[in-house]
Symmetry: none
DNA sequence: TGGGAAATCATGGGGGTCAATGGGATTTGA
DNA sequence: TCAAATCCCATTGACCCCCATGATTTCCCA
């Protein structure tokens, strides 16, 4: 269950786009056959995730004080603006017009893996941003502090499985 | 059992409105075929939930000091003003005049998912508020601290089922 | 290791089905 | 008895299922 790589697919004239096989494979243990999309806060992009990730967001919002302003805002922007998009028989989704417009998508869609989640971009917008991001990372000499293997969930390490996990 | 997305439906001249199919699907394990609505105490909107969620609210009120002013007020505003609205054969409810007036609803109703609950709005009122929410979220740099997977209810994680959990 | 066969994936499009809506008919209840 | 709620059916348009084709990738064997 990990989204990696950039996959560019075509948006057909019915507004459909194939979800990359690799992403579908990462989701095949989900009970809901499809993905969730919502507008990114910061970027001209769409945030994508699984049903169980959306459940996780909802459960986390439940934890915040039920009547707090912050929880309210997050509920409106994430849960209220999300679209639940089931696959058709060929593993495609219909991209709602509202989201196409928001992300300024034309005839191609870039699916960009971000680990537990992913993003959808107009490839022409994403490409220069990706290069800028790469340059910043190099200049900064950024290093990532890795979590020890022992803290990873079962099933994410070689030689371990979860009883019911068929991935 | 997760309410997501914004669905705009028409209020017909008999005061009926279709409950979005996705919301009905999220409720299909409920014994009561319908929804509960009550006036929001913060917004010009209606709060909606399932029968079992209403039970949960009642149980939470029990925990508050039985004779506190707060419990009194909440009991009045939530339980006292709530309407139990069954579907007709087509999955519609009749929106009581009192609630239509309170939420200043005209000919359209926006069903807005908030995870365990949802809200009903006049779309023209909701839209600018949602934009404001998005802006505040962005400015605040809000990030949601996600609960660990292991604390989620069964059925919300891949590879688990809900057979024993009908909530 | 190269090349060809076979399976899989991405894409295009037709048509059937179902959700949303509108309105008439019948029942219920005050 | 009248009003309001429920049932029933018709319409329509969006969505989903299906199949066909083209493009890759994978696999297998020489």
């Amino acid at each position: 269950m990990l989204f990696t790589g950039t996959h560019i697919h075509k948006l057909d004239r019915k507004g459909r786009v194939s979800v990359p096989k690799r992403f579908r494979a990462a989701l095949d243990t989900e009970e809901f056959a499809g993905i969730y999309l919502y507008q990114s806060h910061k970027e001209s992009a769409l945030e994508g995730c699984s049903h169980s990730h959306m459940e996780r967001i909802a459960a986390s919002l439940d934890e915040l004080d039920m009547f707090s302003d912050e929880a309210d805002d997050l509920a409106d922007t994430i849960l209220g603006s999300s679209h639940m998009l089931p696959y058709d028989g060929e593993g495609r989704i219909i991209l709602p017009a509202e989201l196409i417009e928001f992300a300024r998508i034309e005839d191609q869609v870039a699916f960009v893996g971000r680990g537990r989640t992913f993003r959808l971009w107009n490839p022409d917008i994403f490409k220069p941003l990706q290069e800028a991001s790469r340059t910043r990372t190099l200049n900064r000499g950024a290093t990532l502090k890795l979590k020890p293997m022992s803290e990873l969930p079962k099933g994410a390490r070689p030689g371990t499985t979860t009883e019911e996990d068929a991935s």
